[in-house]
């Protein structure tokens, strides 16, 4: 059977890509849970799940099977339709976003019976890709708010309300951080942003150091993760917005959460760390690194961010709600505005201006790190000094 090129390019390839992306994401969330549990156990000096499969590597399969067959409990006075709809509203936007995330550059491969196919390792390259991501992720809020409301439970409602306030507050600094990258790359398309970083020989994290920190902090807050996981604070709200959920509906919230974490990591990689580019794409001496395909670089960078997420969870205590709001409105938003103005001025100077800004920022950052660690180690040395008998008597 002959397949026409328009059918192939407009229907078959997008369908195959969508299927691959959705399934990879679902499996990836499962694998990430076991990575998270083992890493947390490592941070907390305990063993973690290590029975099912090699070193517990199949624990997530067992958990998924368990969740699929668990009874689905719905509170009697819940709003049944919306209670059912909420987990779907969390998962669908979280997976839709992956349509525009560029996993790798264009690739050519041979398919038996059809011939050569050249296609990018992304479902589509929208010219407003970045806005599309911001828009679609903002729909995911409804799942959480409606889950809290439809459960007809005080704890769930409080969790949902907290989540709404938190997400709206942190969307502002996140938007500003993203806008500063748009100023540097002059495009909203994610593929074009990566190409701009290659043309300028510059990962945008260097001129946009502050923007990156703002983006990632807001991203952690937007995904309801520690230390900003107030919507599900177990010491106050039982389990927050998903208190009244069980079985596969409950696990949908987690699928959505992990998918959102991957999204935030993927966008941070694309905007600030050169996406699928190898480190130092302009240094010819490192060209042997090109042997590793772009998609592997991209996944590796995402994985590092996921580890940072887990590291946060193992390290920081939870914020109080008023502290969270203060941080968002009184610290992050003013910082984001200052950052935007500075980058706008530097971007006027084109690539040269951005490079100068990068040198200034990174030099200042390195200096600050050196100063802080030296004063700290000096203080620690003073504290660790053995106490002399004279001091004890005094």
């Amino acid at each position: 059977m002959e397949i026409s090129p328009s059918l192939l390019n407009n229907v078959l390839i997008p369908i195959v890509k969508a299927l691959v992306i959705v399934n990879v994401m679902a499996v990836m969330s499962g694998v990430l849970t076991i990575i998270e549990r083992r890493s947390l156990a490592f941070l907390q000096v305990r063993k973690g799940p290590n029975r099912v499969g090699w070193e517990g590597s199949l624990q997530w399969v067992a958990d998924t099977v368990k969740l699929l067959f668990k009874e689905d409990v719905v509170p009697e006075k819940a709003e049944h339709l919306i209670h059912y709809l909420a987990p779907v509203l969390v998962v669908v936007p979280a997976l839709t976003v992956f349509a525009v995330i560029p996993w790798g550059p264009e690739m050519t491969f041979r398919v038996p019976g059809i011939g050569k196919i050249t296609t990018g390792a992304y479902a589509t390259d929208l010219n407003v890709g970045l806005l599309f991501i911001l828009a679609v992720t903002s729909i995911g809020i409804y799942g959480i708010i409606l889950a809290g409301w439809a459960s007809n439970s005080k704890y769930a409602l409080l969790g949902g309300l907290r989540s709404a306030a938190q997400l709206i507050s942190y969307e502002v600094p996140m938007g500003f951080a993203v806008v500063s990258v748009i100023l540097m790359s002059r495009s909203l398309s994610l593929v074009e942003i990566i190409e701009a970083q290659r043309r300028m020989h510059l990962w945008f994290v260097f001129p946009g150091l502050l923007a990156f920190f703002l983006y990632f902090l807001s991203g952690v807050a937007e995904t309801n993760r520690v230390p900003f996981d107030l919507p599900e604070a177990e010491s106050e709200l039982v389990a927050g917005f998903h208190t009244e959920y069980s079985g596969i509906k409950w696990s949908f919230f987690f699928l959505g959460e992990y998918a959102n974490m991957v999204t935030v990591s993927a966008i941070a990689t694309t905007l600030f760390f050169g996406g699928w580019l190898r480190p130092f794409p302009n240094v010819a001496a490192l060209s042997f690194l090109d042997l590793i395909p772009g998609i592997v670089w991209f996944l590796a960078k995402i994985f590092v961010f996921m580890l940072v997420y887990i590291w946060f969870r193992g390290t920081f205590p939870r914020y109080r709600f008023d502290q969270l709001m203060d941080l968002g409105w009184k610290t992050l938003i003013p910082l984001a505005l200052v950052n935007l103005v500075v980058i706008a001025i530097a971007a006027l100077g084109g690539t040269r201006g951005l490079q100068i800004l990068a040198w200034i920022l990174c030099g200042g950052f390195a200096l600050a790190v050196v100063v802080v660690t030296r004063t700290r180690s000096r203080k620690a040395a003073r504290a660790a000094r053995p106490v002399t008998p004279v001091e004890v008597r005094a």
């Binding site: 010219n127 806005l131 903002s138 409804y142 708010i145 409301w149 909203l188």
Partner: protein
């Protein structure tokens, strides 16, 4: 099938959502219907090749304003409103206003389509042109010691560029006036909110 089918699908979603907003008894359900309507409008924007507007529509209306609506509805106890009768005393005035609006909007649509029909330029069907805009600007050059400005027309491709040229060049003054209005409204809200907070203290 194809594009007309998708247009009618989105149009149906918008209409059903809009009717749902007024017909639902539970305010949260009304809010969800409004959300549905917004999403349908975004879909129509995409069909009209205005991806930028579609994304902004979802980002601002669905992602921002509606969340605040829901937030307020949940905070305020609205169980009481659900038991009130369907037909209010203001129903007559509401109907009148609705019909007037229908007459104005419908009249405009009919009139504009008739004008387009007369001029023979019924070319709605070039979506690629909607995503581009032609910009005429004066380029000043020095010729023989004198400044000579010649108009140069450029074609700008891409949605966001087209919107930006419209907003920040052709309609700069209305845009600035609107933003000043918004700023005034924001300051007013802060002042009013502050007064209530002081009374609570």
């Amino acid at each position: 099938m194809g594009e007309p089918f998708i247009f009618w699908l989105f149009a149906a979603i918008v209409t059903v959502g809009a009717v749902g907003v007024v017909a639902m008894r539970q305010p949260v359900h009304s809010a969800i219907c409004l959300l549905l309507s917004f999403l349908g409008v975004a879909g129509l924007f995409v069909l009209a090749q205005a991806e930028f507007l579609a994304a902004v529509q979802i980002l601002v209306y669905a992602g921002g304003i509606m969340v605040l609506f829901l937030f307020t509805i949940m905070l305020v106890n609205v169980k009481r409103a659900a038991g009130q009768p369907y037909v209010h005393t203001q129903a007559g005035a509401g109907l009148l206003a609705g019909f007037l609006l229908l007459a104005i909007v419908g009249g405009t649509v009919v009139a504009s389509s008739r004008v387009r029909g007369l001029s023979g330029a019924g070319d709605l069907a070039d979506p690629a042109r909607l995503a581009t805009t032609s910009i005429t600007r004066d380029v000043t050059r020095v010729v023989d010691g004198k400044n000579v400005s010649t108009p140069v027309t450029e074609i700008v491709i891409g949605n966001s560029q087209a919107v930006a040229w419209g907003l920040y060049r052709d309609y700069l003054l209305p845009f600035e006036v609107a933003s000043v209005f918004l700023l005034v409204a924001m300051i007013g809200a802060v002042v009013l909110g502050k007064r209530t907070m002081e009374r609570v203290d």
